[in-house]
Amino acid sequence: MDFDPILFSRIQFAFTVSFHIIFPSLTIGLASWLAVVEGLWLKTGNQAYKDIYTLWVKIFAITFGMGVVSGVVMSYQFGTNWSAFSDRTGNVIGPLLAFEVLTAFFLEASFLGIMIFGWERVTAKMHFLSTITVAFGTVVSTFWIMAANSWMQTPSGYEISPEGIFHPLNWIDIIFNPSFPFRLLHMITGAYLATAFFVGGIGAFYLLKKRHLNQARIMFGMAMLMAIFVAPFQIFLGDLHGLNTFHHQPAKVAAIEGLWETEKGASLILFGWPDDTTEETKYALKIPKLTSLILTHNLNGEVKGLKEWQPDARPPVMLPFWSFRVMVGLGCLMALTGLMALWLYLRGRLFTPRWFQIWCVGMTPSGFIAVLSGWFVAEVGRQPYIVYGLMKTLEAVSPVLGQHVFISLLAFILVYSFIFGAGIYYIIKLIQKGPGPSRKEEIYGSHGLPTPPSVIAIERESHV
C-alpha cells in the first residue's frame, strides 16, 4: 500500500477539525446563553434559572474541556503536518492566531475556573461577570479564527516575495478580508442556533417525560424563541454569504450547484448525482432559471459551470453538492420548527402537544450536523487550494512519512472515539439526573454508611 502523506494529512486534519468544531459551536452558544440565564436569575431570583445554570455549566465544562484538548492538537498540526504552509503564510496567519490566544483563550480558561468552582469564593456579581467574560471570550476567539480562515479563502492585504513567502501589507485588509464579515456572522449565528436546538431538544425531552417541568419550560421556551427569530435570520445570512462566495469563489458555487456548463438562465438542481467522469449531474431534478435568479438577481444571468476550470483546478463536486443540501435542508427544518412554535404559541399550546416535543427531541443534533456540513462545503469547495488561488494544498504538506501520518491518524481516531464516547456518556448522565437540587448521595464520613437523615437535615439548614 502506498502511504501518501498528503492524503493522510488531509484526512487527519479533516477528522480532527471536524471533531473539534462541534465543541466550540456548543461552547459559543452555551456561554452566551448561560450569561443570559444567570442574569435572569439575579434579576428575578427565580430558583429555576439557578437550577438550569448549575446543570448546564457542568455540561459546558465537559464540552469546554474537550474543546481545549482537541484545540491544542489543531494549533500544533499546522506545524507537524503542514509545515510548508506555516513557513509561507506564518507572517500573515501567525499573528491572527497569536491574537486569538492573547485576547480570548486566556480569558476563557481563567474565568471558566470561577464559573465552575467559584460560587462560594466570589460574590454573585463577580460570578455573573465571569460568565459574561467567558461568553465574550468565545466570541472574540471566533472573530480571530474566522479572520484566519477567511483570509485563506479570500486573501487580501498581502504581497508575495520571490521565494513564495507571504508578507503583510495592510492588517485591516488582512483581517477584514472580503468573505470575513459573512463567514463570522454565519458561524456565530450557526453556533447559537445549534446550541438552541440542543438545549430545546433536552427541554422537550423533560416535557415529554413530565420531569423538571419548571426548568424544562424555560429551556424549551428560550430555544423556541431562537428558532422563531434567529433561524430565518440565519437563512438570510447564508444567502448573503452565498452571494459573496459566488463573487469570489465561483468554482465552489458551481460545485455546490452541480453545474458543469456555463449557462445563462441556469436552473436550480434540487437533487441529482454529480459524476466527475462524465462531467454531468445525472438524474437532475431541476427548477428552471432559479439558480440565475438567486445568484445574479436576474432570470437570465450568467453562472459559470465547472468546465470553465481545468480538471486539476476544480474542487471535488460530490461532497460540497450534498453537504450543501444537508445544511440548507436542516436550516429550513429549523425555520419550520420556529413557525410551528409560533403557531402553537399563538394558540396558547406551546408546551402541550406531544408530537411537537418528539419533533424537537429529534431536532436535538440538527444544528451540529448543519455546522459540520457547512464547513465541508466551505473547505472542500475551495480545493485544490489551501490559500485560494495562490497556494495549492499539495504544496503545503510537511516532509513527514506517510506511514507515520497514517499511524497518528489511527491513534487520533481511536482516542477521539473513546473520549467522545465518554463525553457523551457523562453528558447523558447529567441530563438524566436533570436540573434541580441534587440529593446527597455520598457516603457518610469514611465508614461506608449512608448519611443519616438527621445529618442531611442539619447540613441543609446550614446551607440556607
Binding site: 457542568k58 465544562a61 465537559i62 469546554f64 474541556g65 481545549v68 484538548v69 484545540g71 491544542v72 494549533s75 500544533y76 499546522f78 506545524g79 507537524t80 503536518n81 509545515s83 506555516s86 513557513d87 506564518g90 507572517n91 500573515v92 501567525g94 499573528p95 497569536a98 491574537f99 490566544v101 492573547l102 485576547t103 483563550f105 486566556f106 480569558l107 476563557e108 480558561a109 481563567s110 474565568f111 471558566l112 475556573g113 465552575i116 468552582f117 467559584g118 469564593r121 466570589v122 508578507h167 503583510p168 501589507l169 495592510n170 492588517w171 510537511s398 516532509p399 513527514v400 507515520h404 497518528s408 491513534a411 487520533f412 482516542v415 473520549i419 465518554a422 457523562y426 447529567l430 455520598e442
Partner: protein, 339 residues
C-alpha cells in the same frame, strides 16, 4: 503599516517573549503534570481528590501557555516552527494524545463512580507521564540539533531518539514531579502533605542527579557550548549559576526538614529558573541549534511589530487575571468534590 524595526531589535525581543512564554508553561503546567505523575502513588483516594481539586481550576489556563508557545513560535518564528514540528512529529503527537487523556480526566473523574474512577485516575497519570516524557524528549532532541534542508526539516523521522533525549525525557518527569510534590505540600494538609513532603525529598535527589548529568553532558554535545562555559573568563562569570543551583538544593532540603509550606515550591521554581538560564546560555543565539539564528527565522518585521503591540496591551491583563484566579482559589484544597 507600522514597523518598529528601526528602533527595536524585534527578533531578539520576540525570542525573549517566546522564551518567557515557554518557561511559564513549563512552570505552570509543570506542577499540574507533576501532580498527575505522582497521582497513583498518593496514599488514599481522598488524597487524590484533594490533589486533583487543587489544580482543577487552573489546568485550562496552564495549558493555554502551551498554545501560546506553539502559536507564538508560529507567528514570530514561522521558519523555526515549520522546521522543528515535523522533526519532532512522533513525540509531539504522543504528547498531544497524553494531554488529551489527562485533560478530560479532570471532568470525567469527578463524575464517575466505582471502577471508572480508577480508569480516569490512570488516564490522568499516564497522560501526564507521557506528556512530560515527550516534552523532555523534544527538549533533548532540540538541544542536540536537527538537520535542516533549505527551508524545511531534512532529517529522518527517528532523529529525535537518542540516549541524551531519553535521559532528558526522564529528567523532566522528575523535574515536574518535584514541582507537583512541592505544590501539593503548599495546597494540602495532614496526611497528603506529609506524604508529599517525603516524595519531594526523594524526588529532589533524582532532580539533583539529573541536573548534574545534563550539565556535564551538554558541553560535550557541541564544542561552542563547551568553550562558552569553560573558557576564562566565562568560567568565572558563569560560576554563580552552578553555585546558586547548589544553594537552592540545600535550601530546599532545609525547608523540607523545617516543614515549611510555601518555600519548597518557590525553591523548586528557582531550580527550574536556573536550569533554564543555563540552557539559554548554552543555546544562544540559535532558535534551531547550530543552524538557524533568531534573526534568520524571524517573521516579517511588520508582523512582529503588530504582535508586539498586542502583547504589550494584553499580556499584562493576562498576567493580572491569572494572578487573580490563583488568589481566588488560594488556601488549602479540600476533598469535597467540586464539580
Amino acid at each position: 503599516m507600522f514597523d518598529f524595526s528601526p528602533f527595536l531589535d524585534l527578533p531578539l525581543l520576540w525570542g525573549g517573549i517566546i522564551a518567557v512564554g515557554i518557561f511559564l508553561y513549563v512552570l505552570l503546567d509543570g506542577f499540574d503534570l507533576g501532580v498527575g505523575i505522582l497521582f497513583p502513588f498518593a496514599p488514599t483516594d481522598s488524597c487524590r481528590t484533594r490533589m486533583m481539586s487543587s489544580i482543577a481550576p487552573f489546568w485550562d489556563g496552564n495549558e493555554t501557555w502551551l498554545v501560546l508557545g506553539g502559536g507564538g513560535l508560529f507567528a514570530a518564528f514561522p521558519l523555526a516552527y515549520a522546521i522543528l514540528l515535523p522533526a519532532f512529529y512522533i513525540p509531539l503527537i504522543l504528547m498531544l494524545l497524553g494531554l488529551i487523556f489527562r485533560g478530560v480526566a479532570f471532568e470525567f473523574r469527578f463524575k464517575s463512580k466505582g471502577y471508572m474512577v480508577k480508569v480516569w485516575d490512570y488516564a490522568f497519570h499516564f497522560g501526564s507521564l507521557t506528556a512530560a516524557f515527550c516534552q523532555g524528549l523534544v527538549l533533548g532532541a532540540f538541544v542536540e540539533g536537527v538537520k535542516v534542508n533549505g527551508r524545511s526539516f531534512g532529517g529522518g523521522s527517528f532523529d529525535w531518539l537518542s540516549s541524551f533525549s531519553v535521559m532528558t525525557g526522564i529528567a523532566l518527569i522528575f523535574g515536574y514531579a518535584l514541582l507537583g510534590a512541592t505544590w501539593t505540600i503548599m495546597k494540602t494538609e495532614n496526611q497528603t502533605q506529609n506524604w508529599a513532603r517525603k516524595v519531594a525529598f526523594y524526588v529532589s535527589l533524582y532532580v539533583a542527579l539529573f541536573m548534574v548529568l545534563v550539565s556535564l553532558w551538554v558541553p560535550f554535545l557541541n564544542e561552542t557550548i563547551f568553550w562558552r562555559w569553560f573558557k576564562m573568563p566565562n568560567l568565572l562569570y558563569l560560576s554563580p549559576i552552578p553555585l546558586l543551583t547548589a544553594g537552592a538544593f540545600l535550601s530546599l532540603y532545609i525547608s523540607l526538614k523545617l516543614k515549611k509550606e510555601v518555600a519548597p515550591f518557590l525553591l523548586s521554581i528557582s531550580l527550574f529558573v536556573l536550569g533554564y538560564i543555563g540552557l539559554a546560555i548554552s543555546l544562544w543565539p540559535w532558535i534551531i541549534p547550530y543552524q538557524v539564528s533568531l534573526w534568520d527565522a524571524a517573521a516579517d518585521r511588520k508582523s512582529l511589530s503588530l504582535m508586539l503591540v498586542g502583547v504589550s496591551i494584553f499580556l499584562p491583563f493576562v498576567l493580572a487575571y491569572t494572578a487573580y484566579c490563583y488568589y481566588i482559589f488560594r488556601g488549602k484544597s479540600n476533598s469535597e468534590i467540586m464539580y
